[in-house]
Structures are given as structure tokens and as C-alpha cells.
Amino acid sequence: MAISIKVNGVRHSVDVDGDTPLLWVLRDALGLTGTKFGCGIAQCGACTVFLNGKPLRSCAFPIAALGDGEVTTIEGVNGRTARAVQRAWTARDVPQCGYCQSGQVMSAIALLSEVRRPTDRDIDLAMNGNICRCAAYVRIRAAIKDAARTLEG
């Protein structure tokens, strides 16, 4: 069935079954492959996108439930917070294999959009749904703090 969805500010009509997870609509129908598949059961966070600005695990979210919600993917993030996070990620050389990093970056942007000066506990709570099998966690934490300082300055 044809479903209308708004992604990164652009409206698309996609012809998929309503039970199709948002992840596969993004990747297979729209070609937005920055959002990754890691587990399919909302356990690893590699598929994190924003729905109306809030983080969502797109692998376990059926497209039919989207309604009028606006989706933002790693391809569509912009603004001061996103830039600060991505710069901090690069400056710290956070990524190793990099496969989980779209999701990590999305979760970090969401955190810093809510909490300007996150504590370690804030970081733990916001980021512990994102698995990094390379365990680049030391640098993820440091980069979030770097980005927070940039945003304050």
C-alpha cells in the first residue's frame, strides 16, 4: 500500500506493507543507508533516528505507526548541536569500525539537545541503548563532553 512519510523535510510516498519497519523503508525504499541494521529488536541502537526530534529505534517501528510523524536520519541532521557532535567525533577519532556510529551520533545529538551540560550519569542513561562492539565508549563519552563545551562556548 502507498504510505506517505516525511523524512529529512521531504515527503515521500512508499509502496510497502504497513508492518515494514521504518529502518527498511529508509534503507531499501529511500536509499538512506546511513541508518544501520544491527539487531532488529531495538537492542543495539545502530538504527537510531529521530521521530519528531526524539530518538527512535527504527528497526522495530512499523511504518504504519508513523502517522504524521517527521523522521530525521543521520543524512538529515544539521544545526549547531549536530555539527558540534560530529566535529567532536572526528577530532577525537571516536569511530573504529564505524558501523554503530550513525546511531551513536544520533543519540548524542538527542542528549545534547535536551541536556546542555550532561553528567556521566546523563551520558550513561542516554547512550546505554547504543552498543559499540569495538567498545569505543571511552571516546564516545569524551566526545560528548567536548561537544557540550563547544556548545557552551
Binding site: G34, I41, Q43, A46, Y99, N128, A136, V138
Partner: protein
């Protein structure tokens, strides 16, 4: 050498690592090589590009592209090998980029293996001279081109950050300006390499940043799973629930009825569902009804396998290492201590599940995947499709982790990829994708092991040590079988068959069990279990002898100066003043050499709660010879610690009547950010030839944590993962 020059001139042999002859670029093979390298290299400069050898391309736009023969899956070879080239080339790092080299063993073999592939933490070690030579040769040719253009002696030209300069005449030029001219300069022989004192990039803090960070932080990095081509079908395969099961028959009517499912075919590994996208493929697979023949399948549970191993561990095995007479020394008495350690099957679970792309048109094939053993995968694909290797092009993609999973002696992923392409016939590009459950239940695990250790203490000294290991070999029956010597698979006992400690009477023996569960190397291979068994047991003996874990080890390290060096360095870094406990925290130590690198770690641990021990801080000292990229080394130590800790705390794949129990990250627990300790890394200065860092950070952390737990009065976990050990 110009790319169109077809003259065959073998370069003077250079000695690479492991005494193998370094096969430098053969211009006579250029036609073959260009099929891959030149096609990948698509510079704005086009024909003006300078391609002095198989590894270096310089465009008129000054861009230096380094072709990387090792797969990049996070461990850093893009940056590392490019650093080696850029150092000798005196390149401007901001103009350097890296790409995977095509599959071509003549040009791109791992000098430690003799075939193209990555593993054993060899990327930097085997490339150190080869890539520097490639950079130095390119530099000499650029200098010669400038000397001819400026009519000055080449010896008077200096190069700095991509700029050639002749001081006396005040002339300067960029690499790009001389790229075309340099391609007509004869390739010089034996260009001298820099003295280490002149390094500007190698070993210099902050001199280079990783080449792949930006694209991985903004989602543009391309992995195999991201490949999209016209008419491409996504393929998932239904496989048996037990290892060794076979398809008897299947009913695919309901699967075919799913919108988007295009076809269903039997393949040797199971039943393949072809669809226009991942979701219909998965829905189709769910609706398959497959009858399996599991008569020949492994049906034991892990508890039964462990019991069988325990029994074997009480009998002497094949001797893998001995000096003196351990049995006689143990029988002489003193204080004899015995311990048995049990290690579970572990999945690698790289973040990107296994996947591959293949386009076969009947005459030729293009394969694109995160191949860790390119030569084997290339040949396997050609074999299944009935093509010659020359008719197959294999391109290596960035891979979302591997930890050993993508290096398959059986080439099972490449074989399955070719089989699903063959089953649907030529002309339909396929992308084969495994789900997380396919991955964790798919075998090729770190083998389950039991180690039984006995040691004797007399006069406060460890005087005897006997270790019997029981596990599986994955080399037998593989192309790597020649590594098995005198009936012993060295990967089963590496780190246990000889110790860095002086112990008068020593024996290590091994039983090789026959179990129908496919197993594989897993980040740091045998050291994943031998490091734990040895470092826990030596610590237990030292504790019983009333000795300090650091001083006690150092006293036995007379013949192991580099082990002692990292142990002293980590003790300094942590300001060691004994194991504690201090308030509610204690410190544990472990030292493990693997793949020629020496790592010591100290973990600071508190008892925690039902969630298991809490690891607060880890100090790590590493001696990997010349430290090419210090920050990549630190990253690999941090990551290795997190990877090792997560598995030690939480991870196992159990079998219930042969069926893997865990299937996804809800049950195969991975370390999460709130469980990651603070990490401090010291890199020991060394002029030794560089060795690897991808794996060696892993082995010490688990025993360091266990040894700290013992000082807190908790049992040293005898069975991993620790959380299970604590609960039982």
C-alpha cells in the same frame, strides 16, 4: 614506472617479516593490476596520475591515494599503512586518503601469510618496510622529475609536506605538478629509508588523524550492507537449527505469496529467499516450511561437552611444551594447588552482520564484501561459479567489525554468496544478508575450552606447573592445516605451552576433541583462554605464597625483559602499592604477550551487586615495538579492554541439545557504555620492529579483573562468563 610500461622487472628482493620475500610491484603485471587498482582509482587528474607502484597514486590535484591491502574494520590499517607511505613520501597528510586494494595476491599478499588477508595482528608488522619502500620510491621519482625540470641535482632537492624545494634557486613545486613527469622516470632500486630520528609522522603524537573518522561520523561510509544496484535482490537463507543439518524438503508457497518475494531456491547451506528488500525477504523466510535431516548433526548440550572435556582434562594429553619433570615435582609435595577453568563458546557478533554482494553475468563476476581473506574468498567464488580467478573481481568493503569472523578458512560466506547467485542464475545481482540471529546461532565460535592446572609452591616459590587443555581445532581440514605440527594445533595452546615465568618443572599438554560445532579464531585466538588460565593461576599461586602480584611476577621474569618492561610501566602508571583492598576496591594484574606485542593491565574493581563486579579503572602498558600511530594504539587498547571485559562478564553461546540458545543482544549481552571503565594507556618506547595491536589488548583484562576479585575475597571465577560464575 609508467603504467603502460609492460617490461617485467622484478624488484630487488627485500626481506619482509617472517623472512618472506617482499614482492614489490611488477610493472609487467600492470595490465592485470590495472583491472582493479586503476579502475578504483578515479582521480580528476585522469591520465596524468602517477602510479609508481601497486600502493601509491598521486593525482595532478596533489591528492595522494594509498591502496591498502588489508581490510579496514576499525583496527586502523587505512591510517596506519597510509602513515608509512606518507612518512617516506614526505606527503601533506591533509592530501592523503586510503582505499582498499583489489584482490590480487601477487601484488597485495600479506607477507606473513603468502596470500592476501588480514589476521594475527600482522597488518603493520608485515607492511612496515613494504609501504615505506613504496613511499620512498615514489618520492625519489618525484624528486628526479623536479630535478630534470629545474636542471638541478636531485640531491639538492628537499621535500616537506608535499612540496618539493630547491633552496639555492628558490624553486618550489607541489607533487601534483610533477605527477605526470614522474611517471616517465625509471623506478629506482633500493631507495634508502629514513632513519627513525627523522620521522615526522611515525610515532609522532597528533601528527596524523584517522582517515575514516569523518565519513563514519556522518553516515556516508559505505559498508557491504549499503550496496544498492539496479535489479539487485536481497537474499536471506533459512539454515538448520543444529550444526550439520541438511534440507530434506521445503514448502515455499506461503513464502512466495509475500509481496516482494521474487524466488525461493534450495542452496547447500539451506533455503534461500530472494526479495526486493530485506523485509519481504525476512517475511518470506518466516513463512517457509523446511524439513531438515539432522541425523548427522551435533546434538549435545554445552553442559555435556563441558563434562566430557573435564574428564579428558584429568588424563594426560599430547605434550605441547615441557621442561624438567612437572609430575615428579608435583608428587614431591610442598603445597599443591589445583584449578580448573571453563571457557564458553563465543560469537564474534560484529555490528555489521555477515553480508556480501555478487553480480554474476555468466562469464564474469564482481564480488564486493568485507573480505578478510581475499585470496581464499576470491578462489571460492570462482570455484562455485565455474570461473577462473581472472574472471572474478573481488573488492574489499569497509566492514562493521569482524573480530576474526570474516576470516574463514572454509570461506563459508563467500561460498554461500556464490551459491545463492548461482541458484537464481546469471544476471541477477544479489546481496546476501545474515540477521543477528543468523550470526549468533551460526557457529564459527571461539571454541569452548577447559584448562586444568596444577602448581606446586615450595619456600614461597612456584616450582612446578602442569596444564592440560581440552578444546577443538579449527585448523584441521582447513587450508591452514599445515600449521598443525606433531599433532598439535598451536592456536589451542599459544600462551600456555611456554610461559614468561621461570618455573623449574613445567608441562603443558592438550586434548583435541571432536565436536560438530564449527569454530574459528576470535580476537586474540588461543590467548582468549590461555591468557586467563595462566594469569589467574599464577596470581592464585602468588597469593597463596604471600607475594605481591607485581613483584612476584617480576621475580620470575628474568628471561622475559619485555614482559617485565610493560609490567613495570603499568605499575608506575597506576602508582601500584599492592593489590589492596583499599576501601571497597582491589586491584588485579595480568601480563600477556600475543602476536609479538606485550601488554600489562591493572584493573581496579569493586564487588558491585547482582550485576557482577564493577570495573572502575584500567591501566594498560603496551610494547608493540615502534609505535606507528600512538592514538590508534590507544584506541585499540581501550577497545580491546572493553571487548574482553564484556565477554568475560556476560557472554556465552550455550547449546541445548545442539541448538544455540542465545540469538541476539538481549541474551548475548554486550558491554554497554555504563559498564566501560576509565582507561589509561602508556606506550612503552621501543625501537623494535612494530607488531600488531588489534588483538593483544584483549587477553589481559579478564584475568586482571578476576585477580582483583580474589583480593576482594570473592572467588576467582573458574567458569566464564563471570556473571554466571558468580550466580552459581
Amino acid at each position: 614506472m609508467a603504467r603502460h610500461d609492460t617490461r617485467l622487472t622484478r624488484r630487488d628482493a627485500l626481506k619482509g617479516v617472517a623472512g618472506l620475500v617482499l614482492g614489490f610491484y611488477l610493472p609487467g603485471d600492470a595490465a592485470k593490476a590495472q583491472s582493479g587498482a586503476a579502475r578504483i582509482f578515479t582521480p580528476d587528474a585522469g591520465a596524468a596520475a602517477f602510479a609508481p607502484n601497486a600502493f601509491v597514486r598521486i593525482g595532478a590535484d596533489d591528492r595522494v591515494t594509498v591502496l591498502i591491502k588489508h581490510i579496514e574494520f576499525g583496527q586502523g590499517p587505512f591510517t596506519g599503512l597510509a602513515t608509512l607511505v606518507a612518512e617516506e613520501l614526505d606527503a601533506d597528510w591533509s592530501k592523503v586518503r586510503a582505499e582498499h586494494a583489489p584482490s590480487n595476491p601477487d601484488l597485495y599478499k600479506n607477507l606473513a601469510f603468502g596470500m592476501q588477508g588480514t589476521g594475527g595482528s600482522t597488518a603493520i608488522a608485515n607492511s612496515y618496510e613494504q609501504m615505506r619502500k613504496a613511499g620512498a620510491t615514489a618520492r625519489a621519482m618525484l624528486v628526479e622529475a623536479a630535478a630534470q625540470a629545474w636542471r638541478v641535482p636531485a640531491g639538492e632537492i628537499t621535500v616537506e609536506r608535499g612540496v618539493l624545494r630547491h633552496a639555492r634557486t628558490g624553486r618550489t613545486g607541489r607533487f601534483g605538478q610533477f605527477a605526470q613527469a614522474a611517471s616517465h622516470v625509471p623506478v629506482p632500486d633500493n631507495v634508502p629509508l629514513k632513519d627513525a630520528a627523522r620521522f615526522r609522522l611515525i610515532g609522532r603524537e597528533g601528527a596524523v588523524r584517522r582517515l575514516d573518522s569523518a565519513s563514519k561520523a556522518n553516515g556516508t561510509a559505505q559498508f557491504t550492507i549499503d550496496i544498492r544496484e539496479p535489479d539487485m535482490l536481497t537474499v536471506v537463507v533459512a539454515r538448520p537449527s543444529r550444526f550439520g543439518g541438511k534440507v530434506v524438503s521445503f514448502e515455499a508457497g506461503d513464502a512466495r505469496a509475500v509481496r516482494g518475494v521474487v524466488d525461493v531456491k534450495e542452496v547447500p547451506s539451506g533455503v534461500a529467499v530472494y526479495a526486493e528488500g530485506m523485509w519481504p525477504a525476512l517475511k518470506g523466510r518466516e513463512r517457509l516450511r523446511v524439513t531438515w535431516d539432522e541425523a548427522g548433526a551435533e546434538k549435545r548440550s554445552t553442559d555435556e561437552i563441558i563434562e566430557a572435556y573435564r574428564e579428558l582434562a584429568r588424563k594426560p594429553g599430547t605434550v605441547a611444551g615441557q621442561h624438567g619433570d612437572a609430575e615428579a615435582a608435583l608428587a614431591r609435595g610442598g603445597r599443591v594447588i589445583e584449578a580448573e577453568y571453563v571457557f564458553p563458546y563465543l560469537a564474534h557478533a560484529p555490528m555489521e552482520p555477515l553480508d556480501g554482494f555478487l553480480h554474476w553475468d555468466g562469464q564474469r563476476a564482481l564480488a564486493r564484501l568485507g573480505s578478510q581473506l581475499q585470496t581464499g574468498d576470491h578462489q571460492a567464488i570462482a570455484g562455485v561459479l565455474g570461473l577462473s580467478p581472472e574472471q572474478v573481481r573481488l573488492e574489499t568493503m569497509l566492514a562493521g567489525g569482524s573480530f576474526g569472523r570474516r576470516a574463514q578458512p572454509t570461506m563459508e560466506l563467500a561460498v554461500e554468496l556464490a551459491q545463492v547467485a548461482k541458484a537464481i542464475g546469471p544476471g541477477r545481482p544479489v546481496k546476501l544478508v545474515w540477521t543477528r540471529e543468523d550470526d549468533i546461532r551460526g557457529g564459527y565460535y571461539r571454541p569452548l575450552f577447559v584448562h586444568r592446572l596444577r602448581g606446586a609452591l615450595r619456600d614461597g616459590k612456584i616450582v612446578a606447573w602442569a596444564n592440560t587443555a581440552v578444546g577443538q581445532t579449527f585448523l584441521k581440514g582447513s587450508p591452514f592445516e599445515a600449521m598443525i605440527k606433531d599433532g598439535i594445533d598451536p592456536l589451542m595452546v599459544e600462551g600456555a605451552r611456554e610461559l614468561s615465568y621461570d618455573i623449574a618443572d613445567f608441562r603443558c599438554d592438550v586434548h583435541t576433541a571432536d565436536v560438530g560445532v564449527p569454530t574459528l579464531w576470535w580476537r586474540s585466538v588461543g590467548h582468549t583462554h590461555t591468557g586467563y588460565a595462566v594469569e589467574c593461576f599464577v596470581d592464585e599461586l602468588l597469593q597463596a605464597a604471600g607475594q605481591d602480584p607485581v613483584a612476584g611476577r617480576l621475580a620470575m621474569m628474568g628471561k622475559a625483559p619485555r614482559h617485565a618492561g610493560v609490567l613495570r610501566a603499568v605499575a608506575d602508571l597506576a602508582r601500584w602499592s599492592g593489590p589492596g583492598p583499599f576501601n571497597d576496591r582491589a586491584r588485579g594484574v595480568a601480563v600477556v604477550e600475543s602476536f609479538g606485542s606485550f601488554i600489562a593491565q591493572i584493573a581496579e574493581v569493586s564487588a558491585g551487586g547482582p550485576e557482577g563486579p564493577r570495573v572502575h579503572r584500567v591501566w594498560c602498558a603496551v610494547d608493540c615495538g615502534v609505535a606507528v600511530n600512538p592514538d590508534v594504539i590507544r584506541a585499540q587498547m581501550e577497545g580491546g579492554i572493553g571487548f574482553g571485559l564484556g565477554h568475560a562478564l556476560f557472554a556465552e553461546v550455550e547449546l541445548d541439545e545442539g541448538r544455540p540458545v542465545q540469538g541476539n543482544f538481549d541474551t548475548y549481552r554486550s558491554l554497554r557504555i555504563h559498564e566501560m571503565p576509565q582507561v589509561e594507556v602508556a606506550i612503552v618506547r621501543s625501537a623494535e620492529t612494530p607488531t600488531g595491536v588489534g588483538e593483544p589488548g584483549v587477553p589481559p583484562i579478564a584475568p586482571a579483573v578476576a585477580n582483583a576479585m580474589a583480593r576482594l575475597g570473592l572467588p576467582r571465577p573458574r567458569r566464564l562468563p563471570m556473571l554466571r560464575g558468580l550466580a552459581s
